[in-house]
């Protein structure tokens, strides 16, 4: 059984989209079933979480929003999905099967107005820091995370710097601690 068939048989109806690029399989799963689907994948052999990170599709998102407005209400929406349409954020899990050495990319879309995902630290303890990083950089909150604090920026930092609308040079934030001497 090829990897593609295997993944299809594991996910069944929870598979939103499957794409293949040079032998790498990338699947999208619905947001409300993240834990359930990932548990199933883990039990089916994808037992190692090699990375977890976020993506901000701001440019695509704005473009798609504009195109939608132009089209008007009465025209039916095309069901075809090309490129990442809205919602804006994505969280990506890179899974590896240690027994068969197969890799799988699992994507979840996170809408801008509901930036909450269930934490997978219960499945893989390795998800602890990557989830903190995604929270720090994109502002996605992970429900059930044991210690959801900023990982890279300091605690008092207000923004989420890897969002595309955050200026590269920052907004002039500085870190001050109360043991500062003059």
């Amino acid at each position: 059984m090829s990897l593609k068939e295997k993944v299809e048989s594991i996910l069944q109806s929870d598979l939103v989209e499957l794409s293949e690029f040079r032998g790498d399989i990338c699947v999208e799963i619905p947001k409300r079933k993240v834990i359930e689907v990932l548990t199933r994948l883990k039990e089916a052999g994808f037992d190692y979480l090699s990375d977890l990170f976020g993506v901000d599709n701001l440019a695509y998102y704005e473009k798609a929003k504009k195109a939608k407005k132009k089209k008007g209400e009465d025209e039916p929406e095309e069901p075809k999905r090309q490129g990442p349409p809205p919602p804006r954020f994505e969280v990506i899990y890179l899974l590896l099967s240690l027994s068969t050495n197969e890799r799988l990319q699992v994507r979840v879309r996170v809408p801008e107005d509901d930036l909450v995902l269930p934490s997978v630290t219960g499945l893989w303890r390795a998800a602890n820091w990557p989830e903190r990083e995604v929270f720090d950089m994109f502002g996605v909150r992970f429900k059930g995370h044991p210690n959801l604090r900023r990982l890279l920026m300091w605690d008092e930092f207000q923004d989420h710097p890897l969002r595309k609308d955050y200026p590269l040079e920052g907004k002039g934030e500085e870190r001050h601690l109360n043991y500062d001497i003059v």
Binding site: L152, G170, R175
Partner: protein, 171 residues
């Protein structure tokens, strides 16, 4: 040290300031503050082939209490700035700072939200060493320049008001 021998061996006449400067300039113990790739170059400058110890930087102090020269080699992120300030504050006087590399001097290639644009705005820097990274020769040259600077210093003259005050008090 400039000195004069009086009546043969066993006697030296020099200025107290020069004696102090001689001691200070011959033992600038470094505190290696390597935060990024420039730190590797600093290690090379300290190691046997370049051997910074030739110029008195003999003992690399890993505590700010026992060092004279803070060698800041590498990027300072904004998160790190309070730590740098604190370490500088913990150093005992007299103290000097060498900023090694474009990052420490000006932020270098990292003009971003996370990088502090030059440590000169948070602690006083004596010598800037440009380069990304500077070669160990550059770091050694900076140390020699610093030694020149120490020798041209007037440690007692600067304290004159304090000394005068202390003298008056004893009268």
């Amino acid at each position: 040290m400039k000195f004069q021998a009086i009546q043969g061996e066993g006697w030296l006449l020099t200025k107290a300031e020069q004696l102090i400067n001689w001691g200070r300039s011959r033992s600038p113990w470094p505190f290696p503050y390597g935060t990024a790739c420039c730190g590797i170059e600093l290690m090379c400058a300290l190691a046997s082939s370049y051997d910074m110890a030739r110029f008195g930087a003999e003992r690399v102090a890993f505590t700010p209490r026992q060092c004279d020269v803070l060698i800041e080699a590498g990027t300072i992120t904004k998160k790190m700035v309070p730590v740098l300030k604190r370490i500088y504050a913990q150093m005992a006087e007299p103290k000097w700072v060498i900023a090694v590399g474009a990052c420490a001097c000006s932020g270098g290639v990292f003009r971003t939200y996370s990088t502090h644009q030059g440590i000169g705005s948070v602690i006083p820097v004596d010598i800037y060493v440009p380069g990304c990274p500077p070669r160990p020769e550059g770091i050694l040259y900076a140390l020699l320049k610093l030694i020149d600077k120490i020798e041209a210093d007037h440690p007692l003259y600067k304290q004159r008001p304090k000394l005068v005050e202390a003298l008056e008090a004893t009268k």
